[in-house]
């Protein structure tokens, strides 16, 4: 009996004082809130996935991305960031095949201004933006600005260089 009492007291003390686990999150039922509260080393992939869905209003049939996320955004992303794991995250989140192409994802200021003009833009964590359009074919192409600071998820029909940039 003494053994049991000692064990119970130990567990209570351990849970109460040490708490070696991740902290509790009070969820409002939304994944984005959970991710923002907890933080994630793959946050940019989640943002791209969610922004791409928002850009086409649902699952994405094809997400066109350069092979390295550094080409899109230079800060806070691990080297070679579109590794198989990140690719898996994006693939699962968008419910489609991921198309990794070698292309220049940089949009110069004029092209970017033209793209964003009169369009609704939604912001996601890590400076990722969803550009919405009425013209949809389920395809999303990823672009960045010339400072490589922001990522733009652009529906295929309005992508500056088409869906095979």
């Amino acid at each position: 009996m003494l053994f049991l009492v000692a064990f119970v007291l130990h567990s209570i003390r351990y849970l109460g004082c040490s708490w070696p686990y991740t902290r509790f999150i009070r969820s409002n039922g939304m994944l984005l809130q959970v991710l923002e509260e907890r933080g994630s080393p793959w946050m940019i992939s989640f943002s791209i996935g969610m922004a791409s869905r928002a850009a086409v209003g649902g699952p994405v049939t094809s997400l066109i991305t350069p092979p390295d996320l550094h080409e899109l955004r230079r800060v806070a992303v691990a080297e070679g960031a579109l590794d198989p794991y990140n690719a898996t995250l994006l693939q699962q989140m968008c419910g489609m095949g991921l198309e990794v192409l070698r292309y220049d994802p940089v949009l110069q200021q004029d092209a970017l201004r033209l793209l964003l003009e009169n369009r609704q833009v939604l912001e996601y964590p890590d400076d990722v933006y969803a550009v919405s359009s009425e013209a949809q074919d389920g395809t999303v192409v990823l672009f960045t600005d010339d400072a490589h600071e922001s990522v733009y998820c652009v529906p295929g029909p309005i992508a500056p260089r088409g869906t095979q940039p």
Partner: protein
């Protein structure tokens, strides 16, 4: 939030429907305790059907898939429903359990408390998202996380929610309730009324605050679900073998125990199917329950009908889910569970079942097994398997063993848990208590041993892990904690103590 509530409540309702033909055989306690685990398997069947039909799941597909599962499971259950019931399951009990379950689910949904690991959002949630978008089981899902939890996350999205968290504490509560049931019915059955109640509450409460248990109660991961399936499977196997109600004395009591054996076999089979679908290594851990059942069968404690019932219930969901996966994605290449390994393990389960039934049928083999002792033989085979793995790659074996021991003893956030369990086990082996419960206790200890033997072979062969609370084996060890508590409680609560029939081995060995 509403998606969380719908998924939780549908799981219970589906379990009620699936086990409905067995309600009289199981009695109200086990019937209601088995409903949530058995019901959750239905989500895997929904994902399997949308995979075969190649459709994006909708509420209609959820209704169709769950109905198919209920009909299939109830048909299996109907085949093995006993004619003699232990106690009727009244409609009042449905209302009480249902109201309690809905209230608890509502409270959990409102509280919103959740713990999140990287796997929670990058695997379970995203695999669910992928399923909700496409309805397709993928190599990533089959190879990394298996189907059960991603399918629940899928359903949550179909019903308009975004983050599934309510079922996890419900799994914990259900497992604690099963543990309390076995403590009450078996471990502390010989204690007087209030002491029995207090002992049951204290031990179940102690389990609830074991640090990793408390953590996994809220964590979105597979371990609490697996602990629930493991505990239910062993409870059902040992109840079917008459361990739980060993003290049935009268002819009518014995008839009830005998009659419910096959029904309990069905529950054990479904629980093992749930375990096989809850994790990529679930197919390997299924052997723990199967080997314990085989030992019981070969010792004459478990009928052939119960063994067949368990295999029928285990096979039905696995056939549907793995059949769908093999049909649409072939023999996949995966991160943790390769398609070829799944084929091998499914084949091994089938072969083991056939061998178990054959060994129990052929008289000379049965006689030899009884002479040698099924449990002793199983221990010897386990030891041989461990030695073979160690001989194959000694370095990796020692590395895996070091990680496992270091995590359980020091670094895995278990506190004193495994020290207490080890001390209790050693004490129980040194100071033995001779009573009617001893064979049951031996089976419980064997089940714990069998679990660790499988874990050691598995981790030393393919996944040596690392020293960290998040290590795979460190989390997997949670699955067996209720059984270890059950063993220690049945030792502490033995009627032999009051009769002075304990034996010190040293004294026993003396001339």
């Amino acid at each position: 939030m509403i998606g969380n509530l719908i998924v939780a409540c549908l799981s219970l309702a589906v379990g009620w429907g699936a086990l409905f033909p067995l309600r009289r055989s199981l009695g109200p306690g086990l019937y209601h305790l088995s409903a949530l685990p058995v019901g959750t398997i239905g989500w895997s069947v929904v994902a399997a059907l949308t995979t075969v039909a190649e459709v994006r799941p909708s509420p209609m597909w959820v209704a169709f898939g769950l109905t198919v599962y209920v009909v299939m499971a109830a048909a299996v259950a109907r085949l093995f429903a006993g004619t003699v019931g232990s106690a009727p399951v009244s409609w009042r009990s449905f209302a009480l359990v249902g109201a309690g379950f809905v209230s608890l689910s509502g409270l959990l949904a409102w509280a919103g408390l959740t713990l999140v690991g990287a796997d929670s959002y990058s695997h379970y949630e995203l695999s669910g998202w992928f399923l909700a978008d496409t309805g397709r089981l993928s190599p990533i899902i089959m190879g990394s996380r298996n189907t059960l939890l991603p399918a629940m996350h899928m359903a949550n999205r179909i019903f308009g929610a975004d983050w599934l968290y309510v079922p996890y504490p419900l799994f914990s509560a259900n497992t604690l309730a099963i543990t309390a049931w076995v403590l009450w019915r078996h471990a502390f059955v010989s204690l007087p009324g209030r002491t029995r109640l207090a002992a049951t509450a204290v031990v179940a409460g102690t389990l609830a605050i074991v640090p990793p248990w408390f953590y996994h109660t809220w964590l979105v991961h597979s371990n609490m679900a697996s602990a629930m399936f493991t505990t239910l499977a062993l409870t059902a196997v040992l109840a079917a073998a008459g361990v739980v109600d060993r003290r049935a004395q009268s002819a009518s009591e014995k008839e009830v125990v005998g009659s419910r054996s096959a029904a309990l076999g069905v529950v054990a089979g479904f629980a093992l199917a749930g375990l096989a679908l809850a994790r990529p290594d679930g197919l390997a851990y299924v052997f723990q329950g199967l080997i314990v059942a085989a030992v019981c069968h070969l010792s004459g404690a478990l009928s052939r009908r119960a063994i067949v019932a368990a295999y029928a219930a285990l096979s039905a969901p696995l056939l549907v889910v793995y059949g769908a996966a093999f049909l649409r994605i072939g023999v996949w290449s995966g991160d943790k569970l390769q398609g070829s390994w799944a084929v091998a393990l499914l084949g091994a389960i089938l072969v083991f079942g056939v061998l178990t039934v054959l060994a129990g049928t052929i008289e000379p083999i049965l006689e030899w097994l009884r002479r040698v002792g099924g449990m002793r033989l199983a221990i010897a085979v386990n030891v041989l398997a461990i030695v073979a793995v160690a001989a194959t790659d000694r370095g990796q074996f020692l590395f895996a063993l070091r990680n496992m021991v270091a995590n359980l003893a020091l670094m895995g956030t278990w506190g004193l848990t495994w020290w207490v369990v080890l001390l209790g086990v050693v004490l129980s082996l040194v100071v033995r208590v001779r009573d009617v419960e001893e064979p049951g206790r031996q089976l419980l200890l064997f089940a714990v041993f069998q679990f660790f033997a499988i874990a050691l072979v598995l981790h030393a062969s393919v996944h040596p892990g690392h020293i960290s609370p998040s290590d795979s084996f460190n989390r997997v060890a949670l699955h067996i904690v209720p059984t270890a508590f059950w063993y220690l409680a049945s030792y502490a609560g033995s009627p032999g103590w009051s009769k002075g029939s304990f034996v010190q081995l040293s004294a026993e060995a003396a001339p």
